[in-house]
Amino acid sequence: MLPSTLWQVGVAELLSSRRSTFIKVIFPTVVGGLYLFVAPSGFFTASLITVLAAVTGCFGTGITLSRARSEGVLQRITLTPLSRRRIVLEQLAINSAVDFCQMLPLALLTSMKFEAYDLRLLTLLLALGVALVAANLLGLLMIILATTVGEAMLYSSLALFPLLYIGGVFTPVGLEGTRAILSSTVPFSCLQQALLAVIGESPAWPALRVVETSVVAGAGMLLVAALVGPRVLRFEP
């Protein structure tokens, strides 16, 4: 494959290392799939899948981009006629798309296990996509602060886990109160709620609210990426 755009470079990279791509795709399916059958409750199953999606997106982008920056590849790409905004948005899109392909088998397996083939599955796929964009955006923004791959992982963890808590991934969030309001601002809560619906637990949010929140969060994140993202490509030591 001869890549003419950044996203094609991402695809060509994946195709060039088939073994690691296979492992990347199979890992969440195996870990999450096993858990589907042994989890003590539906809530923990939903939590594990949400955490897997968040970590996959956030760490993947943080590591990939901070390595590309330390090797000088990002700097070289910035010198091409591509605008910095386009570089950031394309990176975000390709990383999120790859992560979606990585998490899709597990999402489908979950819906098959709980026989959820209706609107709940579509809501899950939408919420999964939005959660992955959020995780990738977080990883992307964290490399503004990081100078090494290790720092990128550290900062990503420091930002990610509190957000997962606020989003009600570790402990359930009620319908009222400060935490309920806060959780509606975190895209990971959409995925958690969509998974609870698929698994047959009683989610705090109806499907329509998950869809609405996902759409608003997705649009908001693209705006943030367009506005703040180019800062990732400033290389002032």
Binding site: P3, T5, V9, A12, V73, L79, P81, L82, E236, P237
Partner: protein, 323 residues
């Protein structure tokens, strides 16, 4: 640190490919470049010569738009704010210091991506890359992953990526670093050929022989400042009649006695070797040998050479280009 970027710089010459006006970039380490005024004419090969850490790469990063200035202004091919100007960047080819490629992809995939991003059609890219891979003698390796390439091969690939779209301006940071002898020759030939066809080149190097042979004009850069500039012949006039004495000693010695010898313009110690720039005074050589011997030194070898551009730099700054 004062940040002042002039948005509407003074009128720049249309004949100049690159023009800088009091251009400064200061990093938090205190290093950078300070008050650089340059004018590089179209079609010219312009050398930026200085030791490692002198500011050559910083200046190239500023001109290419990789980093932004702290103060001052500059224009590239008649346009400014290059970091926001895609059309301007399309006209520029860059070889950065070090090597940066997508390692998992083949050399050809990397070069193809850059050729296409810089605006070549698929047909144009195929023809141009065929020609350049052949020129760089990378034909047989072009479909191998870049991670299997040697450093020299990666540098050649960087040159291919910089040249593929026929840029109007080439910014080259140590382009011949890591290349084998025949590749260096081929590269020099290519540079001269491109200059004749009107392409402007700014060449950052600490190889004074390369600079002397290739460049129409040269600027010496030392500790972030331009300390001298002109045609190589003009610069060599600074040390007309001088000669360079290279002494290899058994062990290092104090050079203060040598500096005091009448007729010694500059002296620099590099480990066990001494480099002395002497005026055309036949008395210098015996006095130099005597000073070393009386100073307790032991000479392993002594060589008298014609001075080079490096000696001009030594005379101006008191330090060597290579150090």
């Amino acid at each position: 640190m004062q940040v002042k970027i002039e948005e509407s710089p003074k009128a720049y010459s249309v004949r100049a490919a690159v023009e800088t006006h009091r251009l400064s970039k200061l990093f938090s380490t205190g290093k950078g470049i300070l008050g650089v005024d340059l004018r590089v004419h179209r079609g010219e090969i312009f050398g930026l010569v200085g030791p490692n850490g002198s500011g050559k790469s910083t200046l190239l990063k500023l001109i290419s738009g990789e980093i932004r200035p702290s103060s001052g202004s500059f224009a590239v091919l008649g346009g400014n704010r290059i970091w926001d100007n895609s059309r301007l960047r399309r006209k520029i080819g860059v070889v950065r210091e070090g090597v940066a490629h997508v390692e998992a992809l083949s050399g050809y995939q990397n070069a193809w991506f850059f050729a296409r991003v810089y605006g070549l059609s698929a047909a144009q890219a195929a023809v141009r890359l065929e020609e350049l891979f052949h020129w760089a003698d990378l034909d047989s390796h072009k479909h191998q992953p870049v991670r299997t390439y040697s450093f020299g091969m990666k540098r050649k690939l960087a040159l291919i990526e910089a040249l593929a779209h026929n840029p109007e301006l080439l910014l080259l940071d140590e382009p011949s670093l890591g290349l084998d002898y025949s590749s260096v020759l081929a590269w020099r030939e290519k540079l001269v050929e491109m200059s004749k066809s009107g392409i402007t080149t700014i060449l950052a190097t600490n190889d004074t022989n390369d600079a002397e042979r290739l460049c129409h004009r040269i600027a010496f850069i030392h500790r972030g400042r331009i300390v001298g500039s002109g045609r190589p012949q003009e610069l060599m006039e600074h040390i007309q009649g001088s000669y360079e004495i290279l002494l290899t000693l058994r062990y290092p010695m104090d050079i203060r006695q040598i500096s005091a010898i009448d007729g010694v313009a500059a002296v620099v110690a590099e480990g066990d070797a001494l480099k002395v720039l002497a005026a055309s005074n036949k008395k210098v050589l015996p006095e130099l040998v005597a000073a070393v011997v009386w100073g307790g030194g032991s000479i392993l070898s002594l060589e008298v050479r014609q001075p080079t551009l490096g000696d001009v730099f030594l005379k101006i700054t008191g330090s060597t280009v290579g150090g």
